[in-house]
Symmetry: C2
Subunit: 119 residues, 2 copies
């Protein structure tokens, strides 16, 4: 989880924005390159780690678990592991994560109302 240098203006700004702008606050939770995509796929139901990998071919395993862990720590997703071998781990939206739906839905709507046309 790669420690962050305290006393960098970068991070100071980030923290300040999170504390003073609700939009930035949300962005700090679901922003970045991969979190949106992971959330998007989890919106259609719980998924195995390997399923997410297949659904998001471009993502590296490092990025996938890194963000899953972060979102888990922030109580946005739930990790459920069957104690078997080979492992069987399922990720799903937590109740708090489910409450993101209005936001995510609004985004999807906005995207499709514009020049976004996915397959």
């Amino acid at each position: 989880m790669t420690a962050i240098k305290e006393s960098s203006t970068l991070n100071a700004n980030r923290e300040n924005n999170k504390a003073t702008c609700p939009i930035s606050f949300v962005m700090s939770k679901i922003g970045g390159h991969w979190k949106p995509i992971i959330l998007y796929h989890l919106m259609s139901g719980p998924k195995r780690y390997s399923e997410l990998k297949k659904l998001i071919p471009a993502i590296t395993e490092k990025m996938l678990i890194q963000h899953l862990k972060q979102m888990q720590q922030e109580d946005l997703v739930i990790r459920k592991a069957e104690n078997i071998v080979p492992p069987f781990v399922t990720y799903s939206l937590s109740p708090e994560g489910e409450e993101l739906r209005p936001i995510l839905d609004a985004m999807v709507e906005w995207a499709f109302a514009r020049d976004f046309f996915a397959a």
Copy 2:
């Protein structure tokens, strides 16, 4: 606007995500450190360049115009300049920018429903 290296996996991924995930598509428009804050302030009405500066003390002038220009190019904000000296430039949400309100409002609501308590 600092040219971007073609053939970097970083950017290739970004482009791919924008094209395949509506959430990422929206994030590519309103993500980053400053765009959310700028939009947040523009939600309460048109603002002068200098007003935005005062409202967002931590932002540098470079970042402010950079993002204003980007959002202007993407038709999210409108720039209106009176032809006087000293200059008088006003920024406001475009019609397309206004359509972001449901998203932004949902974010604000989510933020306040959680551990976010701004002044």
